[in-house]
Assembly symmetry: C2
Homo-oligomer: 178 residues x 2
DNA sequence: ATTATTATCTACAATACTGTCAATAGTGAG
DNA sequence: CTCACTATTGACAGTATTGTAGATAATAAT
C-alpha cells in the first residue's frame, strides 16, 4: 500500500506477506475495496496516536516536538497519508481534529514558555503547526532525494542539520513575535 | 498517472483519453513500462522548466518567488513528483541540478538585496530552498485537507494568508541573520 | 460431547490487462 | 507513381487478478 498506493495493492501479495491464502483476506475484509478502507481507517488511527503521542510526551522545547514530528512522518506515516488525500473519501471528521488539538496544545506551550505579559495570535500558532506538518510530510517524501549525500550516514547528518536549522528559524520567529 | 500512480496506469484508459486504441500506445512506447518512463522523463522536464521559470522571472522580492513556487507545485507538479521518488529509478543526474541552480540564484539575490557588508552562509540559503520546496510540495498534497474551509473561496483566502505568513517568517529570519 | 460458528484452504469461474499479429491506411523519397 | 516505412486498428493469446464455492479444520457455546 505504501509502495504502490491503493491501485498497486494485490490480494496475493498481501496474503503472502501475512502468511495466508488470498481468500482468507477476502473473508475478513469482504473485498479488495474493504481492505483498502480498513487500511485507511488504520492509517487515520495511526496518525492520531502518533501525533497525540508527540504532545503527550510533554516536550520541554519546540525542538523536541519538531524532531519527533519529522521522525513520525519519516517512519511511513507520510507514504500512507498520501492516499487518504488522493482518494475521494474525506477524512475530515476523523482525522482533522488532531491538528486542531495540536494547535491548541502548542499554543498553551508557547504561552507557558514566553514572558507572562507576551501575547500571541492563535492564527500564528496554527500557521506554525501547518508549516511543521507540511514540511515534515514533504521532507519524508522528497528529503532523501533532495539531499545529495554519498552514503546513509551523511544523509542522516544532513537531515539532522536541517531539522536543527528549522527549529532555530522558528525560534528566531518566536523571539521576534514576543 | 497523477491520480493512481504508475500502478494504477491502464493502457486502455490512456488510449481512450488520447483518442486512440491501446496498441497504438504500445507501438510508440514499446511497453507499459516504456510509457511510464516517458511520463517520468516528461515530469523531470516539467519540473526543470517550471523552477527555472520562477528564477528567470527575476523576482523583485522573495515573496514573489514563494508565491510562484507554491503555485507550480499546486498545479499538478507535486502529484507527479511523488512517483519520481517512490519508484526505484534515481532522478539524480537529471532532476537535482535544478535545485543547486536555485540555491545559487537565491544566494545571489540575497547578496544583492542585503546591505553590502552583510555576509551569508550558502548552507543557510540551501536550507531555505529545501524548506520552500518541501513546504510547497507538502502544501500541494495536504494543504486543501488541512484547511477546514467551507467553500473554495475561503480555501484560497486561507492558502494566500499562509503563503504570506511563510514569506514574512522567512523575512524575519533574513533580517535576524543580516 | 455435540453443535453452531468461524477460519482457512484448494480449486475454479469470470473478468481485466498487457502484449502480439496480421491487415489496412497513411506518408515521404526517389 | 512506386516503394519503403510508419501509424493505426481489431482480433486474439496468455497471464494476472478478483471473487466464489465447497470442503475441512479450528473454536466456542451449551
Amino acid at each position: 500500500m505504501a509502495a504502490g498506493g491503493p491501485a498497486g495493492l494485490r490480494l496475493e501479495a498481501v496474503a503472502k506477506a501475512a502468511g495466508v491464502s488470498h481468500p482468507t483476506i477476502l473473508h475478513h475484509f469482504g473485498s479488495r475495496e474493504g481492505l483498502i478502507h480498513a487500511l485507511n481507517r488504520e492509517t487515520v488511527e495511526h496518525l492520531k496516536s502518533v501525533l497525540l503521542g508527540v504532545l503527550n510526551a510533554q516536550p520541554n522545547s519546540s525542538d523536541d516536538a519538531i524532531t519527533a514530528t519529522f521522525a513520525a512522518y519519516r517512519e511511513g506515516l507520510a507514504q500512507r497519508m498520501i492516499w487518504l488525500f488522493q482518494g475521494g473519501q474525506p477524512m475530515a471528521p476523523q482525522g482533522l481534529p488532531v491538528f486542531d488539538e495540536m494547535v491548541e496544545a502548542l499554543h498553551a506551550f508557547r504561552l507557558s514558555w514566553a514572558s507572562p505579559n507576551a501575547s500571541f495570535d492563535i492564527e500564528d500558532t496554527r500557521a506554525i503547526v501547518h508549516l511543521t506538518t507540511i514540511a515534515a510530510f514533504g521532507d519524508a517524501i522528497l528529503g532523501p532525494r533532495l539531499r545529495r549525500a554519498s552514503d546513509a550516514e551523511e544523509e542522516v547528518r544532513q537531515r539532522q542539520r536541517f531539522e536543527q536549522w528549522f527549529g532555530e528559524m522558528l525560534n528566531v520567529y518566536f523571539r521576534d513575535k514576543s
